[in-house]
Symmetry: C2
Subunit: 345 residues, 2 copies
DNA sequence: CTTAGCACTTGATTAGTTTGAGTGCTAAAA
DNA sequence: TTTTAGCACTCAAACTAATCAAGTGCTAAG
């Protein structure tokens, strides 16, 4: 259990360190703190905090920096989200104010805004009814040998892919396949579709197509994309700013992660109602040891729930970041509601 | 004019420096060279080469490194492409051996292969009949409020985009628009289409749609994508390996460039029949000062001409890289011919 | 419980040395 | 005229003290 004063000191340590990046010593604290105590007293308290594992030294005679647990305690008990700066409000309003014709444009734009506001890397996920279902499938012949496959889900996602077919495939065959898929698969959730696609469908489809493999590849491709490709990332390059003494390898693995949607999903984790902060070692991914992740969900009424997130150095100004994320989730939800309202009625 | 011996020495300087990265001195050269002369003689020759601006010192008593002009002379007169390593041949064969259903898959895969072989960043452009023309346009209603726009060019490129429309737009209106576009624009080159789109079309389209602006935005969007989005990039992350003492800013501007297709097109420049090498300062782009770019075209008979390129440090082993690029362009052309042969007949 | 005082630790910075690879130049040899 | 041995000189890099500043823990007194 921490005393009032210890909390005050821990808060000051975190704030000072996240601002300056320099380990903070007893004298600095004595000057900053509102109460009037000597540096020796602070030293005693610091020793106590270190005892509890909340702060640590970089070397035996250095100032203190927060430990992972220290950050945890800070965000759980001590931090208060900053109100937005007027300037930030302007940025949000003007960037999100325009006219959009696609949900995805709003979401991807959001990732950019969020990364600009924070100067970190931002993620956005579009709102989603959970367990969205396949609601339609089409094959559209485009030229002598190109066909486009389009897949629509009941949550309004559209995925498509063009591929080349051997001349021998006729329009009727394509139509038969489309009918088959619409009959058998529409209404199922995407994972169910994927499963079925590997089991009974190939046999049936073989009646219409001589070599169904290629076709099934395509369909599976489109399908997995629809199931996964829901992330937008903004400010990728901002990761470079925190490249610890240019550790190229870990940077590479970070960037590799950003390109694998599975991994991102893993990292972002399950949505929870609150704004959640995960700190360095609390994440399974090793490359994220020196990073913190702030995630928040947003609700668009019956249109489901989405997610926004920012990834920055563990040493980030949490109060400001929490303020931004908190405010932005509201703005985004509002914007999306407007959007749906316009196109729905 | 260079003597035989000076050429031999310049070649050795470039080879040694590109291999080791260390400025090379007279003693080292004396040991490596096939002729038997003393280091003092070499020193005299080095002074002569420096006189001509082909090599330079990093400081007054250092060994020599090639200057921009030195590299230029080397690739123009002295280098001979290395034959491929057996291992490299395997990599190409196996990576390009599979079955593909889209040109774009082959091209994008090629960028990956090329970056793996070289451990640099690779670019690939798909073959293209110059001045490809719009050959078809469709609007496909997908749900109550979603429409997909598809655009096909006579070179087989397909671009599409989904957008949301206000309920008020009816199927007939859409069809009217499609008819209009197919009547007026099909057969024109893409730049012509873009131009016309800004002039007379808006008036006519206003007959069918109440607010044509949004729609025209979309169309223009798809169109510019079709005109531009022909590049694939492989091994982006390899740029990190050469981050000179972690100069974050120039790295950032490099990566920003990779995301702007216009810039890439600028940098790659016009196709020429030969394999071309551009060295650091020869490129207009300032961020590329320490890089070299090797570009090569490949021909797929009547299907047009494409391009491959690799971007690496000025200090790259040119003989090996030229070997790889030279061999790969052939393999790629062969593969594409096979592909077209299969789908064409 | 707080605080002044003090001895001690440590990373950073600076200046001075040494080392080694390399150069240019001169004068003799080929 | 070209080549070469020899030598003085240069410079970055690596190493060594020496000093500094910020900070700590501990003790003993308030």
């Amino acid at each position: 259990m921490l005393s009032e004063r210890q909390m005050m000191i821990l808060r000051a340590v975190v704030r000072d360190f996240t601002n300056t990046g320099v380990p903070v010593g007893s004298k600095t604290l004595a000057k900053q703190l509102p109460i009037h105590v000597s540096s020796a007293t602070i030293r005693n308290e610091l020793a106590a905090l270190e005892e509890q594992g909340l702060i640590e030294k970089t070397h035996s005679s250095s100032g203190r920096i927060p430990s992972g647990e220290g950050y945890r305690y800070y965000v759980d008990h001590l931090v208060k989200p900053d109100p937005l700066r007027p300037n930030d409000i302007d940025v949000i309003q003007s960037s999100l104010g325009g006219d959009f014709h696609k949900i995805d444009e709003i979401i991807s734009q959001s990732a950019t805004i969020l990364s600009n506001l924070t100067s970190y890397t931002a993620f956005t996920l579009k709102p989603e009814l959970k367990d969205s279902r396949l609601s339609g499938f089409r094959l559209i012949p485009l030229g002598k040998r190109q066909v486009m496959a389009i897949l629509v889900t009941d949550s309004g996602d559209v995925e498509n892919q063009t591929f080349d077919v051997n001349e021998k495939v006729t329009g009727e065959q394509l139509e038969a396949v489309v009918r088959l898929i619409n009959d058998q698969l529409v209404g199922l959730t995407l994972p169910e579709v994927l499963k079925k696609l590997q089991q009974d469908i190939p046999l049936k489809i073989a009646n219409y197509l001589q070599s169904p493999e290629g076709f099934l590849d395509i369909f599976g491709d489109v399908l997995t994309r629809a199931a996964q490709e829901r992330f937008y990332v903004g400010g990728r390059l901002n990761l470079l700013n925190f490249s610890q003494d240019s550790d190229v390898d870990s940077l590479k693995s970070l960037y590799a992660m950003l390109d694998k949607t599975d991994d991102i999903a893993d990292v972002l984790g399950q949505p929870s109602d609150k704004i959640s902060v995960r700190i360095g070692n609390e994440m399974t991914n090793d490359a994220l040891r020196n990073f913190s992740l702030i995630t928040a969900t947003y609700d668009v009424d019956q249109h489901g729930q989405g997610m926004i997130a920012i990834l920055g150095p563990t040493r980030m100004p949490y109060s400001r970041m929490l303020g931004i994320v908190g405010a932005f989730r509201e703005e985004l939800a509002k914007k999306l509601l407007d959007y749906y309202r316009f196109y729905d009625e």
